[in-house]
């Protein structure tokens, strides 16, 4: 394990690792997500810090046994705080040749490969594309492909069938339990407790005793295989991390975001109406919120993306917290309605779980390329606040923050998450519910203006002088009947007004209202060396890789600092000054430099844009390389003398 520190304080025969990255890979039907989830849960409750990366096949029904059908789950467990699922797995569990083919290149040099030997027959080898020039199957277990790796060939299918036979399980059914064999084996090798998994199997498959028995038997067989088979070698241990004291749970980004929305409704004292149309990778939020109706949450699965945001905006008009959840293509469709929300100045939350684009692009893969559409993707001058979450657990707080801004300033807000955060998980120290902010805002209840004749009247566009928010008068309130619409209106009265000066004034007011949000943005935190010349500035899910990269460079004495922004519009008020303090600013993004462009344009500062657009999160090593290159260029700059 080249990248893993072997702690020398061995306990008994077990060797201690500071962290371990395992990747479970197999066919979509092999239950790899479940296996990875179990390994994660056990490690979480054991007290490790961890981070996960589920990697779903792009095609839901890719032919079995093919590389396109490979589903994988990578988890990093550690005895210290970590933020990423690890650059390179230390261990690859490959349930079939296709999994080996798809993922071997990810494994660290010298890493451990555990294969299900039974699957390496001519048929599966051909399906995976392990063939020679005359289309004859070639077995990578025998041809030297795996030289330089530690290889454990385990006949998982047949061993599983063997232990299931006495239970009366048919061989075909028994085969389905082989993922539990793999889990058992890995659990032994890395000293994971077994009771929680056995308990979990009992509960999960309570309705089908035979399946429960088969899975338990397979799990135990895998565990015992590790204990009794010499070739498996030593056991390793990853000790619990010393995380800050508190109560923890393990959570994915989409679940945290859903709970953040539930919390936002509670903190705003408002019922929620979610309008949504199924889309990967956002659908889980619709599913999750649909489960929590007792929080006063209504979910409408709309006929299309446009209707979904229409439902949400209608609900906001009626006095609910209106929310719509989607991914990039859906944001494009909602664009016109979001502009309407800008014009009628009502709270509205648009959640974009970004994925690879353009068009259908890479629906199951991550990307952060919707920053531009979030900032600019509307007709006319339609500014709105944009907030981004940085980690799975942070999605909870980001959802509350987005809702807070929407309500306080009566504006649509776009919250950006991405596929990596959505499906990735990490331990989350639960917040004290009582410490969460009150984000409620009052509805208008009475008239707010007196006309020239002394009559009291209601002006729907009479603004709060500080926030510039207009009153939110909801149907059912006597005396405050009013009409809103997409046509330009006069400030104050809200009556249709096409006069040139008025349109300019309203445009500026809408812009000033969004700018007013800066008043609530806390100072940007900088971590790392105070005297660094190089700053790495991030947004969104790059946080994890940046954090790991900066820590690792600093461990070897490189001076570097980092900052991360959650508010993309408006930008933090201190950001320009902050960036000017460094000689080099690196902005890593899973897009072609969208924030970098914005920063250059806004502050006239040169930015080193580091772009990755492969449907995958950054490896910390890629960011480390950018840091090194920036530092090297500093030397070159000074050698060249001042110019």
């Amino acid at each position: 394990m080249t990248d893993t520190i072997e702690r020398s304080d061995t306990a008994g025969n077990d060797r201690v690792l500071d962290h371990l990255v395992v990747r479970f890979a197999g066919d979509s039907g092999d239950g790899m997500q479940l296996t990875g989830d179990r390994f994660t849960s056990v490690s979480a409750s054991f007290g490790n810090d961890l981070s996960t990366l589920p990697d779903f096949p792009a095609e839901i029904r890719a032919p079995a046994g093919t590389v396109n059908g490979v589903s994988a789950f990578q988890v990093n467990i550690a005895d210290h705080e970590i933020t990423t699922p690890g650059d390179e797995p230390n261990v690859l569990v490959a349930m079939n040749p296709a999994a080996l083919k798809a993922d071997l290149h990810r494994l660290e040099v010298g890493g451990t490969v555990i294969v299900n030997e039974d699957s390496f027959d001519a048929r599966d080898l051909s399906k995976a594309g392990y063939v020679d020039s005359s289309d004859e199957p070639v077995n990578p277990l025998e041809d030297g492909t795996l030289n330089g790796y530690r290889v454990l060939k385990v006949p998982m299918t047949s061993l599983t069938k063997e232990v299931c036979e006495p239970l009366g399980v048919k061989p075909r059914d028994a085969e389905r339990s082989k993922n539990f064999f793999a889990l058992g084996l890995v659990s032994w090798m890395y000293t994971r407790p077994t009771e929680p998994t056995e308990e979990w199997i009992g509960q999960k498959f309570a309705k089908n005793e035979q399946v429960a028995a088969a899975n338990t038997a397979a799990f135990r067989a895998g565990f015992n295989f590790g204990e009794t088979t010499e070739a498996v070698g030593h056991r390793y241990e990853v000790r619990p991390a010393t995380l800050p004291a508190g109560t923890y749970t393990s959570i994915t980004g989409n679940q945290a975001l859903s709970w953040g929305l539930v919390a936002a409704g509670q903190l705003a004292k408002l019922p929620i109406t979610l309008g949504s149309y199924p889309i990967t990778p956002a659908s889980d939020i619709l599913h999750e919120l649909s489960k929590h109706k007792h929080f006063g949450i209504r979910t409408v699965q709309a006929e299309d993306e446009i209707a979904a945001v229409g439902v949400a905006l209608g609900a906001s008009f009626a006095g609910h917290l209106g929310i719509t959840t989607t991914s990039g293509p859906g944001v494009a469709l909602k664009s016109e309605t979001i502009s309407l929300a800008v014009a009628i100045e009502l709270p509205l939350l648009i959640i974009d779980i970004q994925r690879g684009g353009p068009s259908t692009g890479l629906p199951t893969k991550t990307e952060a390329s919707d920053l531009n559409i979030a900032l600019y993707g509307r007709h006319g001058e339609s500014p709105l606040p944009v907030v981004a979450s940085k980690s799975p657990a942070d999605c909870f707080h980001a959802a509350i923050e987005a809702a807070r801004i929407a309500l306080k300033y009566r504006t649509p807000v776009i919250l950006l998450s991405d596929g990596y955060l959505a499906n990735g998980s990490e331990p989350w120290k639960l917040p004290d519910v009582d410490s969460l902010p009150d984000i409620s805002v009052p509805f208008a209840t009475g008239t707010n203006h007196v006309d020239d004749d002394g009559n009291e009247e209601f002006w729907p566009y009479l603004r709060d002088p500080e926030t510039l928010a207009r009153p939110w008068a909801i149907p059912g309130t006597p005396g405050l009947m009013h009409r809103v619409g997409g046509l330009e209106k006069a400030d104050g009265t809200g009556n249709i007004d096409y006069t040139p000066q008025n349109h300019e004034r309203m445009t500026e007011l809408r812009e000033a209202k969004v700018a007013a949000v800066t008043a609530d943005i806390p100072p940007t935190e900088v971590e790392g060396d105070v005297d660094a010349d190089v700053l790495v500035l991030g947004w969104g899910s790059t946080w994890a890789a940046i954090d790991a990269a900066v820590q690792r460079r600093r461990r070897v004495g490189v001076k570097v600092a980092k900052a991360h922004i959650a508010h993309l519009s408006p930008l933090p008020p201190d950001l320009g000054d902050l960036l000017r303090r460094y000689r080099k600013v690196i902005v890593p993004e899973l897009n072609r430099g969208q924030l970098a462009h914005l920063l250059r344009g806004t502050y006239l500062i040169d930015i080193i844009s580091v772009s990755k657009i492969q449907g995958l999160p950054f490896k910390s090593r890629e960011i480390e390389a950018a840091i090194d290159a920036a530092i090297e260029s500093l030397g070159a700059d000074s050698e060249g003398g001042a110019s």
């Binding site: 539930v262 209707a307 009626a318 249709i496």
Partner: protein, 340 residues
């Protein structure tokens, strides 16, 4: 929509201070007047009423009503109204749309609002033309229509709005026209009383870009011969002496017949409550142009589960079963562990 303790209102209470800006002579004026006059009779309060529209001449309507209102974007009013009604089943929600807004750009939202049976009243002003954009043919224009965008005549077949609504499982479907205030009001009253999505097609004259489209039917002197009044439970008869009627032939189709030829007992009895929409559909297709006898009134009026209430009921049931939501409980629901 409780009718209890609603203060008595007059037309004035329902009229906003905004200047009405349709072309002089537009059929929309008559519809607005009919609605403003009717509202005080419905036992609802202006503050509990919401008018939502899309884009088009008709969609200016909400500005003239002294209620809550939203002049939204092209075609999306049914979706926005669905959000309002779902969030607040206590409100009285009306959608004002036109043939372009409702059947072209917003067709998808219209059919799904009807399918869901959201408790909204949809008034579709059908003038078979785009008025606001100054005269292009619409999805209800007859084939061969010569307009600015079809100088040698349109080639695509039109929708029959009532067929679309019935095909979309609408539970209330009716037709009226802009020249008969009383008929409009009776139709709107029935639409309002219906619990669920109500769809009313209004033949509306655009005197600027499509003048006289419906005159052969709706002009006073033509009405007796050309308008077939549908009355629930009554034989479907028309003509100055009610000498003509609608009969279902042995071929299964509907035919216009002379009562004297077939006998009154052969005339179809109108049944708006029939669960099966086939006869309503056949009635909706009785005329295939604007120059032949055309049925007016309520085609279909049945009860089925209303969407907003059903959604609300699930929320109430969940709260009763699980108690009010507890955030702390939710956050711990994945299982927790303690450090330190």
């Amino acid at each position: 929509m409780s009718t209890a303790q609603v203060a008595v209102t007059t037309k004035k209470d329902w009229t906003s201070d905004q200047e009405v800006r349709w072309c002089p002579g537009c059929g929309d004026y008559g519809i607005l007047l009919a609605v403003q006059q009717l509202m005080p009779e419905l036992g609802v309060a202006p503050e509990n009423t919401v008018f939502v529209s899309g884009i088009g001449c008709s969609s200016r309507f909400p500005y003239y009503m002294n209620t809550y209102g939203m002049h939204s974007i092209h075609g999306r009013a049914p979706a926005i109204a669905t959000g309002i009604a779902t969030a607040r089943p206590d409100l009285d929600v009306w959608v004002i749309t036109g043939d372009g807004d409702g059947l072209s750009i917003g067709g998808n939202h219209l059919i799904h609002a009807l399918r869901r049976n959201v408790n909204i009243n949809i008034l579709l002003f059908n003038n078979r033309i785009y008025g606001l954009t100054k005269g292009q043919y619409s999805p209800t224009s007859e084939v061969g229509k010569v307009t600015k965008s079809t100088p040698v005549g349109s080639v695509d077949a039109p929708f029959n709005p009532l067929s679309v609504a019935l095909g979309a499982e609408a539970s209330f479907v009716a037709r009226t026209h802009d020249l008969d205030r009383k008929h409009m009001q009776e139709t709107f009253r029935a639409a309002h009383a219906h619990n669920g999505a109500s769809f009313v097609e209004i033949y509306q004259n655009c005197n600027v870009f499509n003048d006289g489209q419906f005159s052969d039917i709706t002009k006073k002197t033509n009405r007796e011969n050309m308008m077939i009044d549908l009355v629930h439970g009554e034989p479907i008869l028309f003509g100055p002496d009610r000498e003509r009627g609608v009969m279902q032939g042995t071929d299964g189709f509907l035919h216009i017949v002379e009562v004297a030829d077939v006998g009154l007992d052969q005339i179809l009895i109108h049944d708006e409550k029939n669960d099966r929409p086939s006869l309503a559909f056949a009635l909706a297709r009785l005329n295939d142009d604007d120059h032949s006898p055309t049925p007016f009134g309520v085609f279909r009026n049945i009860q089925r589960s209303e969407y907003a209430q059903a959604v609300s009921d699930q929320v109430v049931a969940a709260s009763e079963r699980r108690g009010p939501g507890d955030l702390g409980e939710l956050l711990a629901s994945n299982g927790t562990w303690t450090v330190g």
